[in-house]
Structure formats: C-alpha cells, structure tokens
Chain length 418, copies 2
C-alpha cells in the first residue's frame, strides 16, 4: 500500500510487520475513500467495540488543533471515558477547516450512532493528511456506512496501513502480559513520519487491550507512558495539529475491572504498556522523513528532568547536529553548540559528552584521549547514542530519540502537497 | 576568496559588493594564517584605532560561548567601552577549547598591547569556524605581528572576505548620515550563513563610524537596533557559540561627543544605523546555507511584541514551512501548524494569513476567495512575504526574516568539518 508518494522504505524499518496478539472485544474494518488519487489504497479505518471499552487519550497541545482533536477531548470528558467506536481517515487532516470540519465530524458521528446504536460521545474521530482542505459533507460518513458490514476480528496490518500518510512502513507493536494471574493482550499501531515533535502525543497512535480497566486507570496510564515515550521523540521539531494517542481497554480478558492506576496488580501490565509505546514511538523515528540513522540523546547530571529533556531536545532538533550525523561526521562541537543554545543550566567547563562509549569532551574542551577514529566509528552505523552530562551535579535526566536530517526530508516535503 | 568549500554564490546575493564611505580614525590589515588548507585566502583581520574608539557590543547568550566572547564581555566592562584594536580569525572558533582557548587569547592580546601600546582591555577578539579544536599557542599572535605593518585605511572588501566561513559572498553595508550638521559615516561588515538564530547578535558583525559618540551611547544604540534586526533573523534555529555584533565610534568626524543615546541630535544617525544593521542582517539570511528564497514573516494582532516574535519565529524555523516554500508550494496549512505549535495566545477561528497580498486563511479555514494560482504566485519568486494576524486583537507585532530549506543546506553541513 502506498502513501501516494513513491518513497523507498526507510533503511531503519523493522524486518517485518510484527506478530500481534489477539485482542477480544473489538472489530476492525478498512475502506478506500479515494483520498490518495491514483492509488487503490485504503484510507479509512473503523474500529468497533461491541460491548464498549474504557478509553483514555492524550492529544496535541497545538493552538490550531484539528476539529477531530476538539471532538475527542470533549467526548472523553462528556462520555466519562466510554468508547464504542473509532473512525480515522488518512489523506486529509480536517485541521483548519472551520465550519466544514465540524460538519464532517457531525455527519460521521451520526452515521456511527445509527450503526453502533450508541451515544455520540462514545464515538472517537481522527484525521491525518493535508491541512486546511475541507471535505464534502457526508464524505467520511458514507465511507463508514460502506465499511461497517466488513467489521471483523482485527487484521492489524490492514489497520496500520489504512492510516499511513508519508510513512514508508506500517507501524505496530504488541505483547501479552500477566494481569492479576490472567493473560492479557496489548496491541497498538501508529502512523507518523514528519511534523513530529509531540507535545502531548504524536500523530495518530492507537493501543488496544482486552484487560479489564476502568477509564481512570486507562487515562492515567496512557498519560504517564506517553510522557516517557512519545513526548520524547522528534523528527523535525514540528508539532502536528492532529497528534493523538489513545488506549482502549475492552475487558474481554475477563476479571474484575481495575480503575486505580497505582494498583500494584498493574505492575506487569504497566511495563508491557511502556514497552509497546516505546516500540511504536521509536518506529515513528525510524520512519522519520528521509531518516537513515536513529539517534538516542541521553542527558544526565542536570538540575531537573525537565531541564535534561530541554537540553536533549535542543541537541535532537539541531539541524547542524542532524546533518553532520547524516554524513557520518562526528562533529561533537555542534553538540556543544546545541547544549549551549538550550538556555538551561549547564557548566561549560564540567560537562562531558560521549559518542557511543567514547568520551569526546570534558573540562571545557576536547577530551585528552579523544580519537577521531573512535568518535567516527560511533556515528557510522544506523544507530547512534550520544550521552551528555550537564555538569551541574543534579539528578535530572532524560532521553530523547530523533533521526538524522538528509536531503530525503527536503525532497519529501517539497513534494507532499502539490 | 574561498571558504574552503566549493560553494556556488547564493542566488540571493547582491549584485556587487557595496560602495562604503570612508571612516576616519581606523586602519585595517588582513593576513593568511593558513587555517583553510589548500587555499590562499586571508583568514585573519586586524583593526587598529590609533586614537582609540568608543566601543559597544552584544554577544551570544549561549551557555557554551567561546573564550573570545568571554573576553570581549569582560573587556567592555573593565575597559569602560574604550577600544584600540580588534582581532578576528576565521577557520577556528576557539569555542570549547578550555585552557588552550584562554591561552590563545592571552598571547594574542599581549602581542597587540606591544604593537599598539595600549591596555589589554582595549583589545577585542573574535573567532569563527570549527568548534572544539584548540590552536597552537601564539598561532594567532604571530599572525597579528605579521599583519601589523600592512595596516592602512580600510579596504572593506578585504576585511569582509577575511572573516568568511561558509559564506558564499562578502557582506557589507554603509551610508553617510547627518549628525548635528556634520556628515558622518557608518560602515559595517558581517559573516554568517549557518548556525544562525541569534539570541543577542549573529555570528560576527562589525560596524564602524567616525561619529563622536561616548561609550554609553554606543552600547545603548547597538543593543537597541540589534534587537530589531539581528535578533529577528534565523537560518536554521541554531545559535552560534561566537555571535558578536560590535559598534566602534572613532570620533574622527569631529564635534563634541554625544553620550546620551536618546539625544535628539542622534535621530538621523539612529535611522542610518538601523538601516545598515538591517541590510547586514538580511545579507546573512540571503546567504543562508542552501538558501534560494528570502522569507519575511510579519505577525500582528498578538498580545505583545514578544508573543508576536515567538509566533513569527515558530513559522520561520519550521522545516516543513521552509521545505514547502523551497519547492514553491503555497502550503499555508503548514503555516497554520507552525502558528499553532508556538504555544502563544492566538484565536484559531479569528486569525488570518496572507501570502503576499492574497488572503489565504480566515474564520478557522481556507479563505472563501482563496486562489491556488494567486497563492502559488506569491511564493514562486526569490522574495516571499507572509503576514499573520494572531486574531486576539492585541497591538503586539514583529517581523522575522528567514530563508528556505533546501538540500543545499544538508549537503553543506554534511561536508563542513570533515
């Protein structure tokens, strides 16, 4: 399935689409609305929870967020975290579409209410693609009606493919974990490749579990692990108008619902959820537009975790750092520059920088044992790790993941809309 | 003269190096230290004020600023704004060079004191080029001694060329203005092309005048007009460790010195200084690495000037906006995204966006009279103007200038150090 662009698959893509566990209590259908002209791809995803699910979500903090994001935020509050259906289209973001965007949502929700016999606020929406182009009224609603009869047990690959835009591969992750002596499943998929610097969550990301969880627990857990995963990735420092990360818990695995996010019985589930979200988030970076390298920036010794993250993000978003690493140039001076411009407390003459395991900078200068060969070796491969100690002796630490900046990014984004 | 890289001249370069007025009371020499291997270019600039000058400057706010910036800040305070000499080298920034960097400054200042018979704090230093590579002790000092005998009336083109790094053309501007019924000259030159998002000043920029001004006036005026010019440009959102903008006033035009920056007799001088600084700052954007378009982002209707500038900078630094404009794609939806991610107060459903004179967005959506042809025409040429009204009815306004993002930027910065 194509994005409409003829992009080669990212060299950082996983070898194959993962095996995901079955998640009971949900059905999926996909359909081709035809928003990607000249291709036969599916661009509409419909998820149905016949017995309902607990839902939680985090959304973009953009001031120009899409009508769909507005709808989901409102529905989570009004519907007390209950979900019966989710409708996502690719090819048009329904952001900055004014009254037409609200009309598209209204007609889509009306169609789902009729089909699923549910309340309006049990229906969640999302859209991704070009900004500012209103869709005809009922366009998505009509697609939902066409897709509905084909609802069936999840085909995760179809689902993940249906929401791709400039993604070069479909992204999914999942595992089976123990919850209170029952096996429960966690499965999720994601899309995203550019306009990636989430401020609450990144692009579109859906995680499903058959665990029996109340809406409080779902909301608290998705927010907690979003902060450690999605909110720590960046491709280009741009923040989407549509960023959405949602978790749905169907309860089909059985057992008494747990609604306290700090319930000790959730320990194994939490670890599994964290791993799945991190896996998905890193797949988005691996598919960063034009990416050839996955870069991990780890900052310690800062005054706070927030400060550490600001320093890491400054390095991760520096175009000069990213272009040097793209070229396999161990240009650690640019890391010094990016640490300096962050405006966070650091000690210039006490900070240290490692490329891989090689200490490249300390005492306000190049490390005495600096080896150009070793530093270069650390940045040659497809995965690069840079560690920075801010030198102020604090306990603050954070990790941010990004990709390199290549002419592929420029080419993709000069061609996207037109 | 070459930067060491084989870069074509920016298509946005001025047709020719400008005619600058004579500035009395100063001499210039250049010399080739050989920091650009394989080229015969000059990479050292020495400026001498035989009778001294009033000096003022603004410098990078980077936490990893260079030893030279530390020296200049200290000297301006300790020397009460008096200058006798300025030494600048290209090819090595002397940033993050620890004790070696301080030693280089000490030996250079000692050499100048001997030659100019002046105090240490009357000597100003700067360096630009690769970060983190210490120079041998006395390397620059020896160059100064070699250059000194050739000091002569300013050859502005030689001076501007001697401090270039990845610049594809030498940048200078100047004019003659009336000050208290005397003709006085203002002449300046600049270097900078990448690592450009000044937080106090950009890269290396020197402006000279023969006006009789005291150090208070010099410092206040350079800070005031820096804020409206250099602090409003960005190429890549990266902030240099060496950013320096200095103004020297020799007083050779005669007259009683003026030391109050708000003295009404300075009105014409201030306007001239503002124009010269804006001209130099925009030349830096015109030579943005890989640039093919100069982009002006004007924001009004914001809650404050600071907020307007943050919104403008968010648009100016968005790689998605910059790559779209590079391709001549009137992708105004990405401008909406970049306004939204700024996190500043805006009204999504009241903001407006113009591309050139064409209204592309209003009422939370595409403008009713939107014309793809007119929007595209506004972004086809080498100069693009985008106007945004934040829609909150405030008086806050700001203008930021940037360039587009092309594969040229990626190529230049993958090749710079190695």
């Amino acid at each position: 399935m194509s994005s409409g662009l003829d992009l080669p698959v990212s060299p950082l893509a996983p070898e194959r689409f993962p095996q995901l566990p079955k998640v009971g209590g949900m059905q999926i259908a996909t359909y081709g609305l035809g928003l990607y002209k000249g291709t036969a791809r599916d661009d509409l995803l419909v998820v149905h929870f016949p017995q309902g699910a607990s839902a939680g979500g985090v959304f973009t903090t953009s001031q120009t967020r899409s009508a769909d994001v507005d709808w989901c935020r409102e529905s989570l509050a009004a519907g007390k975290g209950r979900a019966r259906a989710l409708v996502v289209n690719a090819g048009n973001s329904n952001a900055f579409t004014g009254a037409a965007g609200i009309a598209k949502n209204r007609s889509t929700v009306a169609a789902v209410r009729e089909l699923a016999k549910c309340d309006a606020h049990e229906v969640f929406l999302a859209a991704t693609g070009v900004i500012g182009e209103p869709l005809p009224d009922n366009f998505v609603a009509n697609g939902v009606a066409k897709a509905w009869p084909s609802l069936a047990a999840p085909d995760w690959s179809r689902a993940a493919n249906a929401i791709r835009t400039t993604d070069t591969f479909a992204k999914a992750a999942g595992e089976t974990v123990d919850l209170n002596r029952r096996n429960v499943s966690i499965a999720g998929f994601a899309k995203g490749s550019g306009m990636i610097q989430p401020n609450m969550a990144t692009t579109l990301n859906y995680v499903f579990t058959d665990a029996a969880l109340g809406p409080n627990a779902v909301q608290a857990l998705i927010a907690r692990y979003c902060d450690l995963t999605y909110n720590c990735i960046t491709v280009d420092g741009d923040t989407s108008t549509s960023d959405t990360l949602m978790l749905f818990a169907t309860g089909a695995a059985g057992g008494e619902p747990i609604d306290d996010p700090d319930d000790p019985r959730l320990a194994g589930f939490c670890e599994g959820l964290h791993r799945v979200l991190k896996d998905l988030a890193l797949q988005i970076v691996r598919d960063g537009e034009g990416a050839t390298k996955l870069i991990e920036i780890e900052v310690g010794g800062a005054v706070s975790d927030v400060s550490a993250k600001a320093i890491a993000a400054s390095v991760a978003n520096s175009p000069l750092v990213k272009t040097a690493l793209a070229a396999g140039d161990a240009n650690w001076g640019r890391v010094v520059m990016a640490v300096g411009k962050a405006g966070e407390p650091i000690e210039r003459d006490r900070m240290t920088i490692h490329f891989g395991d090689h200490l490249v900078a300390r005492d306000g200068g190049r490390a005495p044992d600096y080896s150009e060969a070793r530093a270069t070796a650390a940045v040659k491969g497809p995965e690069i790790r840079i560690r920075i100690d801010a030198g102020v002796g604090g306990a603050g630490r954070a990790t941010v993941w990004t990709c390199d900046l290549t002419d592929g990014y420029v080419k993709i984004n000069g061609a996207y809309r037109s």
